[in-house]
Subunit: 262 residues, 6 copies
């Protein structure tokens, strides 16, 4: 039975790395110390589960505004962890799935994880798994209850499990009892203008002397994911010529920002 379990695990693992890579299409760039400390704390959890025998299961939620880089961080942790069983659970292939169907899918992932001695499950965008909408609010209590149970259930003896969740709704999670159920809750910050400057500078997106006015166009806090989209819009929008792979002219950046403000 154990051998068969291992066999089942192997292909899942192979498939997963590729999956996690697709979660960080713009790579990982460090906007500074705050980010690195966060990364460090997360890696410590990955280590603890690998090493300790007294905490066979740890659960951690990454919370932060939309586009703050939660999914990319979770994926990066998984790629670095190299546990024998790793699984990304997202709502992507659950369109129109029934509540019960989702519960079974979730339970299945945990059961699969229990078959491996050391496992990592990423629950991406948990609000989507829960069909959450702020009006009401409404959500699938069936799926929520399944999560509350699965996140607290100890793995069978000798098996270890790290669960990393992501959400942009920490306050809702508080009310749902999810925050109290996760052992650890960590915050993914937005980019301050200073952070954004560090990122844009590393990317070489602007001529050095245009960097400051370019940053000045941004809001006080910007999601890193949005920063990448804005750059691409400025680069490839109508009127862009063949030079689009090089620096972004400040002027086009400004026009682009103004157009979107409407």
């Amino acid at each position: 039975d154990f051998e068969r379990a291992l066999l089942e695990v192997v292909p899942a693992f192979g498939a997963s790395t590729e999956t996690f890579e697709r979660c960080r299409l713009n790579g990982i760039i460090s906007p500074g110390e705050k980010f690195e400390k966060l990364h460090h704390t997360c890696r410590a959890l990955v280590e603890q589960v690998r090493v300790s025998d007294k905490t066979p299961m740890l659960t951690c939620v990454l919370e932060g505004a939309a586009g703050s880089g939660k999914t990319a961080l979770a994926a990066t942790l998984a790629i670095g962890a190299q546990y024998p069983f790793m699984k990304l659970v997202s709502a992507d292939n659950m369109v129109g799935m029934s509540e019960m169907g989702k519960c079974q899918a979730l339970a299945k992932v945990f059961e699969d994880a229990y078959k491996s001695p050391l496992s990592l499950i990423v629950l991406d965008d948990i609000e989507r798994l829960l069909d959450y909408v702020a009006i009401g609010p409404r959500f699938s209590n069936v799926v929520l209850q399944a999560l509350l149970i699965l996140l607290k259930r100890q793995p069978p003896e000798g098996r270890k499990l790290l669960v990393i969740g992501t959400t942009s709704l920490p306050h809702v999670f508080e009310d749902m009892g999810l925050t109290a159920t996760f052992n650890v809750s960590l915050h993914c910050p937005l980019l301050t203008q200073r952070d954004a400057k560090v990122v844009l500078s590393q990317l070489g997106a602007f001529e050095p002397h245009e960097l400051d006015p370019a940053v000045a166009m941004l809001d006080h806090e910007t999601p890193i994911k949005r920063l990448f989209m804005l750059l691409e819009m400025a680069r490839h929008g109508a009127g862009a010529g063949a030079e689009s792979a090089g620096k972004v002219p400040l002027e086009r950046w400004i026009t682009c920002m103004e157009d979107l403000a409407g």
Copy 2:
């Protein structure tokens, strides 16, 4: 498989142009600069998806009051884009369809789009797809969740997708998390009296000296769609003779406006 996918795409494309044409029965007339800048911004998005490799998917919502010309604008963009796969998704043929049925239909459209290297999906009148009504409010959370997932899900590698949605309920969309999910949100304005005068003048609807009093009968802001309906009512209402294709007599315009005010 790819060949077969292409085959499937071709007829859809052929059918679509005609479909999009029916969305602008009164043609497209420019009421001035504001409109042209909006059009320009939209076309830039069409270009970006065609050209850039870093943003394989862009999503844009056109929001504006009822009759402000959202559907006609989206259709005009599609006709101008000439992507190999283009699809208009509206509630028109979803009368009484179940929530699940709508989800599957939506998912199917996205799956079809993923088969083409470059695709455009117009989601017209999203509130209708969602069965939204302000009393409650009520709406299909099942369909909403499907949209939230589909609008965020990356297309498979090498495929590109532009999604253009329309709505007259921007505040509701905010609460639903839809606005945050669309990459870009653009506003379709109503016609000021000045804009309306430009349009009526281009149409040659009134004798030049009657244009100003005719415009004065309008509200401060008028939906362009309503302007066309009012003209037609003044032209063909009871008492109109054979001359109805020519200019609208100011008097009949005034009577018509008063009748409707009740």
Copy 3:
């Protein structure tokens, strides 16, 4: 196919006139200018759809208090219009029908109308089609959404359609988005005492010198439908003899009004 469609239409048409006649059991009597202007505006819509090619579909809602004569007016318009396809849609034969059943019935009526070059659909008592009740409020959102779609969907090329709806709940319709969906909204007024006198006088219901005191028994505003019922109660109530077809004695009118007040 077209021939078969025409065949299908013919019997419907024949049946309809009779149906519409049953909606005005007390005939149509003019209480004065206000009513005639309303009638005129409605007939202009009937003409516009018949003549204009630019507005293949017009939708108009008649709103007014219970018994104000909405159904009788809609029926009168239909009888005067003489379109090749005409249909009265009411909840009368939808007792206990499921929401889906109603949607299909509604969609079927529109599909049938599309087969005729020129069609008129009367949607009578729309609140009843919607299972509306003020407590909650509750209503069938499924049917509402179907209506919102059907009332906005363009007929196929070359077909024309006039939809006349009736309701006594204009404010609810506003909240439901129905008012905005109808192109035109017209108000059916109650009878003032002056209007009532005109009607009673035309009917010769009272001896001329008793007309004023009789009218004075009425509320400030009376639904025309109720006026006919009150007359009949005064005429045929207990104690009425064989003379009941003639004038109503003022005394009996007064007793009758007092009894009902309780």
Copy 4:
């Protein structure tokens, strides 16, 4: 078909009289003029439907506090009317029936009535037909909508129908739109102490000199149905001997009233 319809009607009629009799186990006693005027107004409606051709359908609701004698009044009217088709609709044999089942049962009763030239339907305790409860409030909107339609639907040509409903919730009926749907609404009053004295005196329940103190034990307003129950409790309660069919001793009446007050 008509003959068969008549046949169907006959047994229903026979059965009905007995049914109606069981609704007034304590007979009908007049507590005075108010009651007689009410009775008179009701009988006028019974006459009007029998005689008039212009009001083929009349609907009347009797509203009054619990135990005020609504059901007994409706039954008395039916027994006096002697229409060829008469039917008592109550929730008694609808325990646990589904909403749809009730709708069909209601529709069936009306369809049956349409087969007879002159029919009377008593809808007893309409709130029970509606599964109404004040908490929420909750009720079956399905059944309510069916009633709203049936109460407004004209019978086929040449058939006449009187509907008498009873309820103790006039304000709820207002909100439900039921009051507006009934043509006439009449109030069944409670017994004042003066009314109660008239009743008790007619019944010879007390020794004449004990009548006043006995009445003084009652609340300011008493439901007639409760008055009969109190008498019976005082007569047959523990300690009552063989003489229980005679007068009620004042003392026992007082004890009984005090016991119930707790």
Copy 5:
């Protein structure tokens, strides 16, 4: 049919006495006059149904705080009544039964009762039959409506029925319309310290000189059921030796009371 009905009744009767006995495991002890008057009033109802022909059905609800002795009182009445058909309806064997299932079970009990000339039905803990919970509040309206009908429906001619219900939620019952539906509503009081002293003294639970301090440990009002439990805890809790059947030492009583206060 009647004979068969009688046969059906007999075993039910036999079974019932035993069932009712199990409802008063601690016997019945009189805490004083208040209780005796209540008992007397109840027995009068039992007599009235047995004797009177004018009230073939009486319904009475016993309301009082949790543990105030409602069920034991109802059982005592049944045991004393010795009607040929008696039935205890409680939720005990309805765990997880559907709403419809409960309705049918309830209706069945009443149908069974109608077969006997004289019947008694105890509806114990009606809130449990209704699945009532204060949050919301929520309850089964289906079962409530069934009860409202069954409690008002007259038994067939010649049959008599007494229904005794119990509840600890008189205010909720008011809102549900249940209180108005029961003919009589009686209150079961809690024990004052004085009442408790009477009970404890009769039980000989404490040494006479320790009775007062023991009573002083109690709240101002104590449910009789709780008093029995407290005694038993003081008697058999940890540290109790073989002497536990005798008097309760005051000291242990005090410790026990303090432990429970936490």
Copy 6:
């Protein structure tokens, strides 16, 4: 039947001890007198059920904040009780089970317990059995009602049953009527800094001179379960070497606490 029942019980019992052991992976350490008194009171209940014949069923709920040690306490009581039938009911294997399924499972456990002369049922995390979530709030009323019935239903004659429940939502339980249904309600306290010092000292987690500053890092009240997790994180987090089984260096403890605070 009895013999077979016993057979069924035996394996359940064998299995259970192991199950209960898994509920206290960190053993049981006494943080002081408060805890010991609580333990003592609980054991008294275990004794009472074993010994007394007058309280064949006792129900007790342990309420306390998340991680306060409720489950471990319940398990400890079970292990100490050594009743012939003992069962741990938790939501762990009820993921996605239907409401009815849960009811049946619960009823089954009680039925099984009734087969043994002396039984203990632990209902762990009752809010999870109820699918409770604070938003709304929502919960399964079906399961709640089943619990309310099962917790009040007397076992068959001669059988005894102790039920121990756990919850972290005492106020919600109050509103649900659960608190009133349990005979006894006991509070599991959090660790004050003083309690925590006792625990950490017994564990020898820090060098004695570092104990006070280590405790000072804690909140005023700490769940005992969290204290164990924090220790393990400080021990095995990234950067920990082979010495991780010994004392925790104060510095690493501080870093760890700060990281989690974010």
